[in-house]
Subunit: 204 residues, 2 copies
């Protein structure tokens, strides 16, 4: 963590104090999109005007960075999910837990309504659907790679169905969050419990 | 399949030709609600007027049967999900497959957008949330009972986490449908594959 920052940091991906004004405006714009969706506004109803007003920037600032609303929504969803974790690459169990937890960060939970609020529109609107897949597929692919590595090393069964296993790892977490089932299946150690239950059947 | 039907069929639950006019109107009203939601209308936007117009009935016909919109929506979701299957009660595996398949009927799939379209509003609106829980909890309880029975008979591990296992059985199906992942995890034998994968880790 280096608290110092100069203008040469402009291209860096990680947040740092003192980063240039543009990055601050970008973050305010993306947070404004997430706040509006989280309050229950539909993607259709979220206008560039409303985002600009909420973020305290001019519309031109938004249009300079994002060619259209789909691109802005895609970046907002990416920002909500946060960066993919650095995987230790040692045990399949630890890597899978890290991947599930990466979708359950406090930041992602703060915007827990966003995925649910986007879903109806993702289904209706092909451009939004493509946007959503473009955001989630690289994340899904990382989990596939961990599962394939486990098969290759012999940690996992040779005949494991990778796609089905991925659904078994990610599905319960999504449903528990979206249907607000925390009273039935608590958040504590959620990722560990799911991974251990899946691995009990998936181990070689 | 008996094509004959008399007026003594009035109290029966299954559809039959020639059943009384009230049942026909009820069905038209519930289908109208599902169609409007399935087209992407929000629950807030679905008005009694719009339902009456779509179903070809007067508003009074609706108000005679349902005290308010939440009760009408609850019945529509119940109708979409269809009756719970008769469980053979022999093997845990067969019963779990039947329960997952009961949520994946052609009728339920025809209205595949409805759950997704309701979700944002279920989250925002407490009355709708309670309505949704009242519809899904009895169904979830049936699955819990099958799992508890399996623990009691020794088919399932004594230390099985029933709530977590339920989430592992129902979560993948919901996510595959809602995120339209049929290209990655096909519908064919979906229930069997999930149940077998879960049981591999859950069996005693």
């Amino acid at each position: 963590m280096n608290a110092m920052s100069t203008s040469t940091d402009a291209g860096q991906e990680r947040k740092a104090p003192g980063r240039p004004r543009n990055a601050q405006a970008d973050e305010a714009i993306l947070e404004a999109v997430l706040e509006l969706l989280n309050e229950g506004q539909s993607a259709a109803a979220v206008s560039i005007e409303a985002v600009a007003a909420r973020a305290g920037v001019g519309k031109a600032t938004i249009y300079r960075r994002w060619p259209n609303k789909e691109a802005l929504l895609a970046d907002a969803v990416r920002a909500m999910k946060g960066p993919l974790p650095e995987l230790a690459g040692v045990s399949v169990r630890e890597d899978l837990i890290a991947l599930i937890q990466a979708n359950r960060t406090p930041h992602a939970k703060r915007y827990g309504n966003v995925t649910a609020c986007l879903l109806p529109e993702i289904i209706k609107d092909e451009a939004l659907g493509r946007m959503h897949r473009a955001v989630i597929e690289p994340r899904r692919e990382v989990m596939r790679e961990v599962l394939r590595r486990g098969i290759a090393t012999g940690e996992l069964r040779a005949d494991l169905d990778v796609e089905l296993t991925q659904l078994m790892l990610s599905g319960p977490s999504m449903v528990q969050s979206m249907l607000r089932l925390q009273d039935l299946v608590p958040d504590e150690n959620f990722a560990e419990k799911i991974v251990d239950a899946v691995l009990r059947g998936a181990s070689a």
